[in-house]
């Protein structure tokens, strides 16, 4: 069944209270749409321009209050949902991910197990463009990397769009907003930007599902998603786990193995 037909059916049956998908916005942009009535389903679209990770909405109080949510999900959205389940932020009975196959037909994924099985068929590789940039940064000297990031971060205005777009940044009280004591400087000067992005990346290490939404949300085009990708890749390489791989995943930095191998402690 196609997306609009499935949304109509789900809302008519009444089990799902809201269908979260995309609708055409202005200038070819696709914006998130919350459809709550069966009669209003015709406007949903799904194409390559629908890039936003809708999983960032399902942890919000005002969305949870609506009832069970069916949401259009890309592989990265599904990984975010699994990670949120692993972190006990959502339960599988509260959501119904709708994956679309190549023909535009809806595949319902009602359980965490169904999501895991669906994801097993998908690639977990990051986009080629990001891989290329990561490799290029990896080949640079330390000084060049410093200059690269200082140049990029100098444009940061600390709008926190990266934080707000992230499905994993759901804390009600973010340490960035904590001003007693002031831990991370508020102004978007050199140190404030560096420390903010450092904290953001570390808080997402082992939790980033590599959807890249932070980078897309950035209004000044800083490739900040590479920072969290880097932290995530370290976790994967060192501890052999990837965020969003399963609904039963221990947080990499609050567990340990006595034989974790490092090369730098004397």
């Amino acid at each position: 069944m196609d997306l609009n037909g499935k949304a109509k059916e789900l809302l008519e049956a009444g089990d799902v209270k809201v269908v979260l998908g995309f609708e055409p916005g202005t200038a070819g942009v696709r914006r998130p749409a919350f459809v709550r009535k069966a009669g209003r389903t015709g406007r949903l679209v799904f194409d390559a321009a629908c890039t936003q990770n809708l999983a960032s909405y399902v942890t919000r109080k005002e969305v949870k209050r609506l009832g069970k949510v069916a949401l259009v999900a890309r592989p990265t959205t599904l990984r975010a949902l699994l990670q949120l389940m692993a972190e006990r932020q959502i339960q599988e009975q509260d959501i119904l991910p709708l994956a679309l196959d190549a023909a535009g037909q809806v595949v319902e994924l009602p359980t965490a197990q169904a999501i895991e099985e669906h994801l097993a068929l998908e690639s977990s590789e990051i986009p080629a463009r990001d891989r290329e940039l990561l490799d290029r940064l990896g080949r640079m000297t330390r000084q060049e990397r410093w200059d690269f990031w200082q140049g990029e971060l100098s444009r940061c205005v600390k709008c926190y769009a990266c934080r707000n777009s992230c499905p994993m940044c759901y804390c009600e009280h973010c340490t960035m907003d904590c001003n007693r004591p002031q831990w991370v400087p508020v102004p978007s000067h050199g140190l404030g930007n560096l420390e903010y992005h450092m904290v953001r990346s570390m808080h997402l290490a082992g939790r980033c599902v590599q959807c890249g939404d932070c980078g897309r949300a950035c209004p000044v085009g800083i490739p900040i998603h590479l920072l969290t990708f880097n932290a995530e890749e370290t976790v994967h390489a060192q501890f052999g786990q990837r965020a969003g791989a399963s609904a039963k995943l221990d947080y990499a930095l609050s567990t340990f193995r006595p034989d974790d191998k490092e090369t730098f402690i004397r």
Partner: protein, 145 residues
């Protein structure tokens, strides 16, 4: 300037092993470089990654982080958790272009007074060769008036 440069080393150490180890260095009358400022924390697991960034921002040229050897943690597993955190954070800092060569991680037990002296001397010499971490310190002062 360089010939009068004295490195500032900040050492984050755990209360149970390295702090006691550094104490032993003193009671054993072993002399070592006085460039180190020791900050005692309950456990290496308590050493928040941001403390390192804060030390650099406040003018440290080098950082020592030290605690109990694996299996020796007073709280059983604090150092194992810390180790994982550093593995990720060290890579991230390097990726952001921060000089990880200025940060030395070590396990120093309460019995290793000599190792502590040796560690501090080595790090001090290393940082003396590298010079002050002006790059980071300039960043910390830029825009703050």
């Amino acid at each position: 300037m360089t010939d009068t440069f004295e490195p500032k080393i900040t050492a984050f150490v755990c209360n149970w092993c390295t702090y006691a180890g550094a104490d032993l260095t003193g009671t054993s009358r072993i002399k070592y470089a006085s460039n180190v400022r020791v900050l005692r924390l309950p456990c290496t697991g308590r050493i928040d990654f941001m403390l390192l960034a804060k030390a650099f921002a406040r003018g440290a040229d080098g950082i020592i982080i030290s605690g109990c050897h694996p299996n020796d943690c007073h709280y059983t597993s604090g150092n194992y958790h810390a180790r994982r955190r550093w593995m990720v954070y060290r890579n991230l800092m390097d990726f952001m272009g921060i000089d990880t060569g200025r940060i030395t991680f070590s396990w120093v037990s309460a019995a290793e007074g000599a190792k502590w002296a040796e560690l501090v001397n080595e790090v001090t010499a290393g940082i003396r060769a590298k010079g002050p971490y002006t790059e980071y310190q300039e960043l910390a002062h830029a825009g703050v008036e």
